[in-house]
Symmetry: C2
Subunit: 486 residues, 2 copies
């Protein structure tokens, strides 16, 4: 504990003084300092990394957020913002010398405007709640991370979350118009506008995916999308993962942009089926879910085109959802893949590399070899259409050495992603988990520019320190170690 | 001359030494230093602002670009990159103490990939040339600024250009996947990737619209879009600009996202018609062009929906393009609006504010009052669907006082845009033209952040200095003047 943020400078914070000062801003019950109260905040979805913060604060108003940030800025206290903490890279893991700032009470949907097709929401609003509020107007919020029941819009912005439909409808950055918040110094800031473009540098896109390092978000204006009249999904089964991987490239090459194009291998479907009863064929080595949405005529035409390509690519059998209930059941299997794998293994690490679509089959072959090398199983669940991989490496933290082997397995996947022309993360962020691999992805000059941008927002370096941007020392060490191995 | 960049620091450059050093990098004929050779480079599309540079360089290879930047970095010479110089805000106006770096010879289309639907092009490739190269595959490059015959992709990225179809298909930032280039220090840099998202801060969006201040672009990977099967445009005439403005909001409110939604007022159609013979009704006070594209069924259905809304909004008559030739003719009128206005006035200033759609009618009323106040005519050409205004203020630079009155007229439109909840520029950039209005749009803290980001790429402040980001001194003076007026 307390040693998980080697990339953060050391802060000397007086916990009693911090709690006393917070107590002058927030009423009792919204400031915590006792270990038993801090425990629920010790990690996010990356449970392998934990820290107790010095304090937890739960503001309810923007004025409280501003006052807390001004206080921490004055006292030089690091601040880690947190939404629902469903993140998978440790971006919301607390700083052991700092404040954990929960936005959980910012959960109002302030306005749904069916004419402008926008929703103005607070950052603690759950992703799915936005679509529910928009449903009476036949609109929805398009990005749909698998955690959408629980994850919040503020976290979605911070991680630039995707989802199974992002191939056609874009990531969070493509569906957010404006964000308001506060800098670490407590200055109110607005990113973006209701208009398409704005003068000055494009800071809205910069904020999306900035992992809570530039500003604390207090309000988000999102785009709403008209619900398609019809959606259908094709299940395509394959007798090899290579054929399934190649089929993904073939679908896109045929000029089809599916509303979703996902892939699961046999270990994944075997984990899912007993849990969700999606109806998957358990004999297949891989299944693709390929969705079409639009008008009934468009969907009919596109499904026919998809079938033709998938058959030509060697699918052993195809099944089209007969109705909306079946379509949702097919997707429920995919969306529940992570918890389903969680049922069959004590622990798992979820990787998030992206690679060019045409390299999917190659990556799957390499992962199979790594399973043997590290003596660990891996279930593969891919946002195949955009080349975003989610290999789930299964391990048991109570078995000595397994966490280390799983971590090395994951690191090898990420470094292969970079070598194949891809990147170490598609949508889950860097956080603490992939901070070393940033040294593989970027040059020292590139990392210095990230740090320069960070400093232009937070010169004191107090907002979520030690995340996402590695120190030069870490990268020097990384390169030395790699050099010695080579 | 030479006094047009008050926001740039002073540089002491030895022209002879610079020319000699450039002569060691480039062969004769690709370095200019004589006034008659520099003259063609003295301005971009904003002809009211001119400067002769000390030298012009025309590199042909990335190695030459890198060597020139390393040289200028070492000698502390400011560098202004330039594409086709069709920009309308002076972003490519030379620095009187610096080098004008023309990318005109970077005009190769390196690869068109119909499977990945991408084109890899050099920055000096013309916008329309990309679509022409993609046409054999039934693909095109979606952003279509009115200058698309002449303007280049490098400039499009630098200004984040839009076009008449950007409401549906997005701006440049939404259609560019990756950009390669060099920092001022000559370091090679890559922004973005072929994947949807990448780790680290989103610098690709930051580069789009950065007005040549962060890096010199040498290669751009753009997305290609399938050509729609059919496109049709509705011309809707109105007997008042207010009704036309309101109709724009009604179309969007009805759940329609037109492929284009443009508006011209009577002075604009009267300028255009003798020039292009588009067939516009010259008695109408305003005309809307409302386009639908997609499958034949989609277009038929959407055109019917558009007609219904436009009739209900008070259109006096409607006309739907009968065939592709007529559709192109209707658009030709809109696309030629700027040169057409150029035929009827010695000079004009084109503004570029954006406002919320529902304020369009209000803005038009205010502009009519400003015409009287400043004694100048204004033709209005709007990307109405996204609230992006292009009022063309007509003046004669040879009449004493007219340029000053036109500038004040433009400034009042921009400040009203901000007051109505909009911004001072939608797609033309800030450059030198709107640098004062940046003080109206942004706080000193926001401008300091822009400057911080600029410095993280270009600590020496040599790349396109004096553009887009006003000095604190300018904004202090601006606020004092405004305070005195108030």
């Amino acid at each position: 504990m307390g040693d998980r943020l080697p990339d953060s400078p050391d802060f000397a914070v007086d916990q009693a003084a911090l709690l006393a000062a917070l107590g002058r801003i927030l009423p009792p019950g919204r400031v915590y300092g006792e270990p038993e109260d801090l425990r629920p905040y010790e990690c996010d979805g990356l449970t392998a990394y934990r820290n107790l913060p010095l304090a937890v604060a739960l503001p309810e108003t923007e004025a409280e957020v501003q006052a807390i940030l001004q206080l921490c800025h004055r006292l030089q206290v690091p601040v880690v913002p947190r939404g629902a903490a469903t993140g998978l890279s440790g971006g919301a893991m607390p700083h052991h010398q700092g404040l954990l700032l929960s936005l959980a009470k910012f959960k109002k949907i302030l306005k749904v405007d069916p004419v402008a097709r926008t929703a103005l929401v607070q950052p603690g609003v759950r992703n799915l709640a936005v679509s529910e509020a928009a449903a009476p107007y036949n609109l929805y919020y398009a990005p749909d991370p698998s955690s959408q029941i629980a994850c919040t819009i503020g976290g979605n912005v911070s991680e630039n979350s995707g989802g199974v439909h992002c191939l056609k409808y874009g990531l969070t950055v493509h569906n957010v118009l404006q964000v308001r918040g506060y800098t670490m110094a407590g200055e109110p800031v607005t990113f973006g506008s209701a208009a398409l473009d704005a003068p000055g540098f494009d800071l809205l896109a910069l904020l999306n995916g900035s992992e809570g390092m530039l500003a604390v978000i207090t309000e988000v204006l999102v785009k709403l999308t008209p619900k398609p009249q019809v959606a259908k999904v094709v299940l395509a089964y394959f007798d090899s993962v290579t054929k399934a991987g190649n089929a993904v490239a073939e679908v896109i090459a045929a000029g089809i942009i599916p509303a979703g194009l996902e892939m699961m291998d046999k270990p994944a479907t075997h984990a899912v089926e007993p849990y969700v009863k999606a109806g998957y064929d358990l004999d297949a080595e891989a299944v693709l879910l390929c969705e079409s949405d639009g008008t009934p005529e468009e969907v009919e035409e596109e499904i026919a085109a998809m079938r033709a390509v998938l058959e030509k690519s060697g699918a052993t059998s195809l099944r089209v959802s007969a109705n909306e209930a079946e379509r949702l059941r097919f997707w429920a299997g995919r969306k529940a893949a992570f918890p389903a794998v969680g049922r069959i293994t004590p622990d798992y690490l979820c990787m998030d590399g992206t690679i060019p679509r045409k390299r999917v089959a190659e990556m799957l072959t390499a992962i199979a070899a790594m399973e043997k090398k590290y003596g660990l199983r891996c279930a593969n669940v891919f946002h195949a259409g955009d080349g975003n991989l989610h290999p789930l490496i299964m391990y048991d933290a109570n078995q000595p050495g397994e966490l280390e082997r799983a971590t090395a397995f994951g690191a090898e996947i990420l470094e292969l992603s970079v070598a194949l022309g891809g990147s170490i993360t598609g949508e889950h962020g860097v956080g603490v988990e992939k901070i070393t691999q940033m040294c593989a992805q970027f040059t020292p000059e590139e990392l210095a520019r990230f740090e320069g941008i960070k400093q232009s927002f937070d010169p004191a370096g107090l907002l979520n320190p030690g995340k996402a941007i590695p120190t030069p020392a870490r990268c020097r060490e990384y390169r030395q170690t790699r050099g010695e191995q080579a």
